[in-house]
């Protein structure tokens, strides 16, 4: 009886811990070899054969195709520099400069990777479209309501993700370097 009870407890713990850890790591997007700059995180190895098992499992689950190393590198942000999680009812400003790249794009998705519906059908900016200041710096206002300048609408989504993709860039190709140059800063400007 004691044996039965004991093994039952063991199996219950095993199932809870094992499946719980898998669920957590896959939904949080845990992967090794990340490149962190401010609020931005990239996993350059996920675009190569050196992809780790966690990233492989995550890609299989979501159904996405990762950006290949040699094509570019994708930086994800889920919160601002002060770790405030992105909320579509708030206003965030993404500003500054990007590292060297032939082109870059910045896109807003919901946490599942879908584009968010909005009145002006704007989901992203490319490096060519962006309106820059005199010094070459730019500022993108990510907000639910229309703003002058570079306005990226949140569509009022509960949570969102920003992805900055650098194409034809030396970043991430030479792994191990953490000084990756200037990445845009992200700051919250209040919530409606």
């Amino acid at each position: 009886m004691r044996l039965l009870l004991g093994s039952l407890v063991t199996f219950l713990i095993a199932a809870a811990v094992g499946l719980g850890a898998t669920w957590l790591t896959l939904t949080r997007g845990v992967a090794f070899g990340s490149l962190n700059v401010g609020a931005w995180t990239a996993w350059p190895k996920s675009g190569s054969v050196d992809i780790d098992p966690y990233a492989r499992a995550n890609i299989a689950r979501t159904g996405e195709l990762p950006t290949g190393m040699g094509d570019g590198v994708a930086f994800y942000a889920r919160s601002d520099d002060a770790k405030n999680t992105f909320d579509g009812r708030c206003t965030f400003v993404v500003s500054g400069m990007t590292p060297a790249a032939r082109y870059w794009t910045i896109t807003l998705y919901d946490p599942e990777g879908r584009l968010v519906a909005n009145a002006i059908d704007r989901h992203s900016f490319t490096s060519d479209e962006i309106v820059r200041g005199g010094n070459g710096n730019f500022a993108i206002t990510v907000a639910p309501l229309a703003r002058p300048g570079n306005w990226l609408p949140t569509g009022g989504a509960d949570k969102f993700v920003l992805i900055l993709r650098l194409y034809d860039t030396p970043i991430g190709v030479s792994t191990g370097t953490t000084k990756e140059g200037p990445m845009p800063t992200i700051t919250r400007k209040g919530c409606s």
Binding site: V17, I51, I59, D71, G113
Partner: protein, 184 residues
């Protein structure tokens, strides 16, 4: 007391094994991976343009909406694949994925260095079987070895602004993915 601790400890250990095996099994078990999503709309060994992602609909999550994309779902069991892709004005890239979405090779237009990206995709066995003299003349031919017999070639052309999207699509429309049957 000690006995209870032992049960818990073995539960934790077993949990670790469960965790690792589920993570490793996920790519095999996934039913909604990119290859499965694309299979119904992509005939084999043919370059097919993908519909642009919109707020309501996208064939895959996290697609870059600034790009026009085309896919060739390849099967190398009957020969190698010759890929020809004219380069668009702004930026074009080709990425090769295995059946399990691992990006094993990617190249962009500048690295390819020509007006047209030309690549030969084959299995390691097909590469080894190539006649030697052909290999020599192939010095300026880019040969890619696919780690799996089936997989995906994804061609992406950037539209730096929305008005240039038709041009990016046009460049992709001229791309070809052709099976080169083994001549016996």
């Amino acid at each position: 007391m000690i006995r209870a601790l032992l049960w818990i400890l073995s539960g934790l250990l077993l949990g670790g094994i469960v965790h690792l095996s589920t993570v490793l099994a996920m790519p095999q078990a996934a039913k909604q991976d990119a290859y499965s999503r694309l299979s119904p709309v992509t005939p084999v060994n043919t370059m097919v343009p993908l519909p642009a992602p919109t707020a309501g609909q996208a064939i895959m999550p996290f697609m870059d909406p600034a790009f026009a994309a085309a896919v060739c779902r390849y099967d190398l069991s009957n020969g190698s694949i010759k890929l020809t892709a004219p380069v668009s004005q702004a930026y074009t890239s080709v990425t090769f994925y295995t059946r399990k979405s691992v990006a094993y090779y990617a190249i962009n237009d500048r690295a390819a260095g020509r007006r047209t990206i030309e690549l030969d995709l084959m299995t390691p066995v097909q590469h080894a079987d190539m006649p030697e003299e052909e290999d020599v003349t192939a010095a300026d031919r880019l040969i890619i070895e696919s780690p799996s017999t089936v997989g995906l070639i994804v061609l992406r052309a950037l539209a730096p602004e929305p008005g240039l999207m038709p041009m990016a699509r046009q460049a992709l429309a001229a791309a070809k993915c052709e099976l080169q049957p083994v001549d016996q």
